[in-house]
Amino acid sequence: MRYTLTHLKELEAEAIFVIREVFAQFENPAILFSGGKDSIVLTHLAKKAFWPSRIPFPLVHIDTGHNFPETMKFRDDLVKELGVELIVGSVQKSIDDGAVREETGKNASRNALQTVTLLDTIEGNNIDAAMGGARRDEEKARAKERFFSHRDDFGQWDPKNQRPELWNLFNGRKNMGEHFRVFPISNWTEMDVWQYILHENIAIPSLYIAHERDVVRRNNTWLPVSEFITVEENEKVERKMIRFRTLGDITITGGDESEADTLEKIVQEVAAARQTERGNRSDDKRGETAMEDRKKQGYF
């Protein structure tokens, strides 16, 4: 017997440890659940962390109103299966209440508006630790993120003044009104996530798997046609075999042409990919430090 773990088992053990630390150190934690593969893996790990108990905290979904219908169904089925509470923060409601103003124009999206709804939901439900499925390999600002990431009482991130994090000793101490964002799968890569989904046979929304869909070519990607986007006169609606590498709002998530209709094929495709997964996310293309700027405000 070799006393050694595979890389996936070691990453799993690390994530479970972090999730349990959150449960032990905070009063009222929650999982931020987007319906994307990373938050699905995070939820799966939370299930492992507390088995045979149920996951002892709610899932929080920030609903932009611009969802893929497949994501919503997946979310509702999962919540039912796990027997956990679901908290929905509605961007539509933030707009109706006048807390935020809707963007207009051809590339309008509700992506940036989510921050306000997210912070309101965190505050309104007294959540003191919000766990997310963000990974350090995703984006350069995320590469500097801690496992336990402190947010001030405005929900803001101060990247230059982060607490040092050593060994497995996590410091979740805070003042009233402040909260933490915690990222248990910080050290996972896109490849690790897919290998883990394959190995653990975790259910994911069908959107990740190649399927036929109406799309238009816009900003170098295939944008799904939906009631939320306006097809311009010079744009042509085409029917293509598409799969999504990340899932965000239906208005900003572009798909890739793909024949990968099984998990095995997806892992192969990811291994051969020459573009990052967020390459099709128009929310990251609003400037060199778009992610850092949003994160400082309190974004995911």
Binding site: L5, H7, F17, F23, W51, L166, W167, L169, A273
Partner: protein, 421 residues
């Protein structure tokens, strides 16, 4: 599809070096040659390099992600980078060379299996090399790989290489590092990084990547001293698992098996392991760094912060701790101030009772006159805690031998400590 991803290990390493010794180039080459840089990342780095008037592609921009870092062209914080080969997955903790050097390197080193140090072949062992090596040995990184870089600028001279190796070994005899290796490389031209170089026929050792892929890391964890700090207690109280009572945690050392006699600290109660549970079913043994749930034969009172150990191999119960402390905060240590101490899953309050000496990390000399503890200082201190802690020497077990101190007013992590004998 091949299943070899189910046989891959994880190696965490830290890189140290300053701006000029080619660290970014070396990391860039490892990422490039393992196909871990994507086209859109490269395009964006190319565009940013051009915008800054740099004539080459500045690979540091790949992870110098923060606005201030990009504007000032410096690395402020530890950056984590990832790459994989068919044999292993690698996590690089890339630490900046200048600002808050000690703080960042200590952070990066705390979880590393290996440290990669760069030495410029033209300059040989310099003050900085000593400093990096000392921190690596202090944090007990099990393996040290010294890359003697820019060999192209010394005509790939074997004599120069040997000179530096001798120089380094002389200095390193003062350190506690068991495994030191030397590789002559040119990060710029790729000699001995991924592929063997024809310019160094005299070198019989392995390439850097081959070393990273094959170095023996199974023994990096402590598999001798059985230690299980309890994180939380799992009690489902459901119909199906009505009487289930499990202790959740991550094995910090040793091997646990069902049937093992155990002792719970601090109560001293004894019992036997009934089962080791996971969602995927019960398992036959658990070892570091696995996260599991342990059930016992007897119902005894156990809560977070307690430690499950073997009766014949127990950690020391100490209230007075001899600690090598690295100060991480702008605010100097206050004499006799109280801090919250975190050790495994346990908390206590503590006070710095005495400063024995400060270490000059460039010369390793002990400074006994200067008792003030400021940012980036490494000091040997005596701590007194409000309750006994169950500790091992850091050199025996990094998990049960390490602590952090938290300032009770600001809640910031202000120091990292390694427990001595």
């Amino acid at each position: 599809m091949s299943d070899n991803y189910l046989d891959m290990q994880l190696l965490r390493f830290t890189t140290a070096g300053s701006v000029d010794d080619g660290k970014s180039t070396l990391i860039g080459r490892l990422l490039f040659d393992s196909k871990s840089i994507f086209e859109d990342q490269l395009e964006s780095v190319e565009a940013s390099s051009k915008k800054r008037g740099v004539d080459h592609v500045d690979l540091a921009l790949l992870t110098d992600g923060l606005k201030d870092e990009r504007e000032q062209g410096i690395t402020i914080d530890v950056a984590y980078r990832y790459f994989a080969t068919p044999k292993r997955k690698f996590i690089i903790a890339d630490t900046p060379g200048h600002i808050q050097y000690t703080r960042n390197m200590v952070t990066g080193a705390s979880t590393a299996n290996l440290a990669l140090l760069l030495v410029d072949a033209r300059h040989g062992v310099v003050e900085q090399t000593c400093r990096h090596s000392f921190i690596a040995s202090l944090l007990q990184i099990p393996h040290l790989v010294i890359c003697i870089n820019k060999m192209d600028l010394v005509d790939y001279s074997e004599e120069r290489f040997n000179e530096i190796v001798t120089q380094y070994k002389e200095f390193a005899s003062k350190l506690k590092v068991n495994d030191i290796r030397f590789v002559p490389i040119s990060a710029l031209h790729g000699d001995n990084v991924v592929n063997r170089s024809t310019n160094t026929e005299w070198y019989n050792g392995e390439t850097l990547l081959h070393t990273l892929e094959t170095i023996h890391i199974d023994s990096d964890q402590d598999h001798v001293n059985a230690r299980f700090p309890v994180q939380t207690v799992i009690r489902p109280k459901s119909d199906e698992h009505h009487d289930f009572r499990g202790y959740a945690g991550r094995v910090a050392g040793g091997i646990f098996k069902p049937g093992d006699q155990i002792t719970v600290l601090p109560s001293g109660f004894g019992s036997k392991i009934k089962s080791i549970e996971t969602l995927d079913g019960p398992i036959k043994e658990a070892f570091a760094p696995m996260s599991v749930t342990i059930t016992l034969e007897d119902d005894i009172d156990i809560s977070r912060g307690d430690m499950i150990v073997r009766p014949n191999n127990q950690p020391r119960a100490e209230q007075d701790l001899d600690v090598m402390l690295c100060w991480l905060n702008n605010k100097p240590a206050q004499p006799r101030a109280k801090y919250t101490l975190r050790h495994t899953t346990n908390d206590a309050r503590c006070m710095i009772k005495e400063v024995l000496y400060k270490v000059d990390i460039n010369t390793l000399h002990r400074i006994v006159e200067d008792k003030e503890i400021t940012m980036n200082d490494i000091v040997r201190v005596k701590l007194r805690s409000t309750k006994p802690l169950f500790v091992d020497e850091y050199n025996d077990n990094r998990n049960t031998g390490s602590i952090i101190l938290v300032d009770e007013a600001t809640n910031e992590t202000v120091a990292a400590g390694m427990i001595r004998s």
